[in-house]
């Protein structure tokens, strides 16, 4: 039997086509049917224009795209042995900006997108507070997200779609007042996490080393855990358990994990395939069913995102949960929430480190126009995982721009008998509601997937 379901309440829409055998899903196709064509649009545009274009790939992770573009263009200078000098202040403002965007995204995703679905699996009255639009927790989560993002707007001008970064630094020059305002917003966010999400103060949370510790608390995370265990979400949603993270930050380390071994990443082994992908201006072929491409490392599929990042950078609580429950929905969602808590903590520290006396921007000695031809790559950790931009320019004009988003790694179609990451995770589920939740556990963004 085949069924077709629409997945909404992601960014955009996806179709999930499942094949059922003996009441279990035996094959799953994830289809993304909306396409805009950024890589075609960027062609032959002035290189700096990309700073305005690429953030618009996504209404949620525009900061990540902005940073990727700014750093890809900076790497052009590196590639000709004339590296730009970026001050610590500019670097900090970029990382803080990106962190705040991820914080906002994680809060929203948890309270708006996944918790309402998980709560719906139970008939118990007490979970009504997670209901979309009406539930008290839904509203508190929305409010907390919109307050936290103001910390970014303070020095980035607006959100979504800010473009305050530029090769050589940032355009903004925050004052001490701005820094204090940012701290205040982060304090509020931390307060929300302690009160609503965790149910205790952050120091105590950092002492946790097992999911059993959550049972001592009465807050969203313990509700989440109970709902997961009541509905087998700690068993469901397992994929290949191979993980990749492409870049380093204050919180994350790059690397990959395959069968427990931690290994280095070589960016040249990344390949994007479009065997099952529609082509522009061509009649679609039998096997083509989505606008998403497939990202592979050394010809193998890898998961990217908060779970991969937690495992590669060895964060204790998630590492321990993973030991017992593998890459299940429960582990994956817990990893995203653990990342949220860690990010708020670390971002507060980073804001303190800003030295306002440093320059925001130092101009390049060489004009991009005078660089005949060069290619460069940048990688950035976005909310949903590793983002890669690859650009080729000739005299400051873009000749080729390739974007591989995290959701291409996780949600792209499988090739031949090799399933894609989310595809494999869904296979084996015994109800469509659970299949939805498994798919959602990857934080689906249809506009990023297809761009």
């Amino acid at each position: 039997m085949k069924t077709l379901n629409i997945i909404e309440r992601i960014e955009g829409e996806a179709k999930l086509v499942c094949t059922w055998k003996e009441n279990k899903i035996s094959d799953a196709q994830i289809q993304f049917l909306n396409f805009r064509g950024f890589e075609y649009i960027l062609n032959n545009k002035p290189a700096l224009d990309a700073l305005i274009y690429t953030p618009r790939i996504c209404g949620i992770c525009g900061q990540a795209h902005l940073k990727a573009t700014a750093e890809a263009l900076e790497n052009i200078y590196k590639s000709i042995n004339e590296p730009l000098y970026i001050t610590d202040k500019a670097k900090l403002l970029r990382e803080i900006g990106l962190n705040i965007e991820i914080i906002d995204s994680h809060i929203k995703w948890f309270y708006i997108f996944i918790m309402p679905d998980i709560a719906k699996l139970s008939k118990e009255q007490k979970y009504l507070k997670y209901e979309a639009l009406k539930g008290e927790s839904w509203r508190k989560g929305t409010y907390a997200a919109s307050e936290s993002i103001k910390a970014l707007a303070v020095f980035a001008g607006q959100w979504p779609h800010t473009s305050y970064m530029i090769p050589g630094g940032v355009m903004s020059d925050p004052t001490l007042f701005d820094i204090i305002t940012m701290q205040n917003y982060m304090d509020q966010t931390l307060h929300f996490l302690e009160k609503e999400l965790i149910g205790t103060d952050i120091e105590k949370y950092f002492s946790f080393d097992s999911e059993l510790d959550l049972d001592t608390l009465n807050a969203t995370l313990s509700d989440f855990k109970n709902l997961c265990f009541e509905n087998d979400l700690h068993i469901l949603g397992k994929s290949y358990n191979s993980h990749i993270t492409l870049s380093d930050t204050s919180l994350f380390e790059s690397g990959r994990i395959e069968v427990k071994n931690r290994l280095l990443v070589d960016l040249s082994l990344i390949d994007e395939k479009d065997i099952n992908t529609f082509k522009i201006n061509e009649q679609k072929k039998e096997n083509e069913y989505t606008w998403a491409k497939t990202a592979l490392y050394n010809n193998k599929p890898y998961e990217t995102g908060p779970l991969s990042r937690a495992l590669i950078s060895n964060r204790k609580l998630i590492k321990n949960i993973h030991k017992t429950y593998g890459d299940s929905v429960f582990t994956r969602v817990m990893a995203r929430m653990d990342e949220l808590i860690n990010l708020v903590f670390i971002t507060k520290k980073l804001i303190k480190q800003i030295d306002l006396s440093q320059e925001s921007y130092i101009p390049a000695k060489i004009d991009l126009k005078d660089i005949e031809s060069a290619t460069s790559i940048s990688t950035v950790e976005a909310a949903r995982g590793s983002l890669l931009h690859k650009v080729t320019i000739e005299n400051a004009i873009i000749k080729d721009y390739d974007v591989i988003t995290p959701s291409v790694w996780n949600l792209g179609p499988g090739i031949g008998d090799k399933f894609g990451i989310a595809q494999k995770a869904i296979i084996g589920a015994d109800s469509i509601e659970k299949a939805h939740i498994i798919l959602r556990s990857f934080d689906v963004c249809s506009v990023c997937t297809t761009h």
């Binding site: 274009y53 790939i57 209404g59 409010y143 607006q158 779609h161 130092i362």
Partner: protein, 411 residues
Amino acid sequence: MVDSQDMVKKVFTQKSARIDTNKGEKYYNNLFEKAKQRLSILKKQAPLKDIDMVDVIETEGINRRDFIKWVSATTATLMLPSMFEPLVAQATELMNRVPVVWIELQDCAGNSEALLRSASPTVDDLLFDVISLEFHETLQAAAGHDADRQLEDAVEHFKGQYLLFVEGAIPMANNGMYGTIGASGETFHEHLMRMSKDAAAVVAVGTCATFGGIPAASPNPTGAVGVMDLVKGKPLINIPACPANPANIVGVILHYILTGQVPELDSLLRPKFAFGYRIHDNCERRAHFDAGEFVEEFGDDGAKNNWCLYKVGCKGPMTFNNCSIIRYNEGTNWPVGVGRGCIGCSEPDFWDKYAYQRPMAGANIKAPTGGVEKTVDEFGLGLLTATAVGIGVHAVASAVAGKKSEHNEEE
């Protein structure tokens, strides 16, 4: 032939001549009576949702004073005199009488994201509790086939009454293959036409829905167009910008509740209350422009002293929008506030005409008193082109939307 230098000088120095902010006592008295009647009729209608604003304010513990502050700010945003404040407050309470359907097409969800951050009292109170949001694919409770059904039910049940909000462009190339929706695989074009057929009015939100936006940037690989290229014979309001400012979205809804009609529109179908003047007219860095003090390069002393960003690419002088006043993220800040310069995101084709480096990075302009120099010719031409485009669009975009809006408040 108009001397383009003189013309540009005029454009740069004129006051906000594009909108008449004071229409006189008689006009406002008339409008006041009309709005009062409209609200009393609405009040008699059964609410679509059993929650109203008063309850929300009480249960959420929102400070009454904050709410009054919000009302007076919104009244000002709508360019109405303060005598309208009680009516605006009432209209807020009657939001649950107007059904809203929000569809997403070729978009990045940025406008929905911005809407989640609307001005306080927070949008979840305003829009989600009070407004009858019958369908919004990202925010609603239903999912999958339930959501599909909910949309069909809303459109059927509220025939002729609902406001249709559209986010995203419509890809027309190759029979619409670049965007399909729902289980049936309906194209975005078919979907838009079906959803707008029985709408009371259509509101295009964001630059993609209004002018085709980023998908329509050259070479426009998917043949993207805006809503006004397709929907005819229906009141149509454009709220461009990338993202559209949520204050303007809420403003349009309130205006509709208050008057039952679309607000006064410009030639590009943008509400004049929001797009009646250039951001340059009210820019906090304007004094530096007039004094001839410019940032020459990011990071220089001018940048540190918040001087005018015109020479590093600010498009404020040719961009019609109210963001210099209402700002973003509940008034937290706006691009010019952090030294980034305006990119003209509420103007048609800004991707191709106004993008980052062009044409002003090399512009050599001094304060008007010091004369306007060479490269100004280039954008003098740009301005003329923009005007011509505006006139063309006005002629095409159905007389209904344009004329009705011009009449509605003047009778």
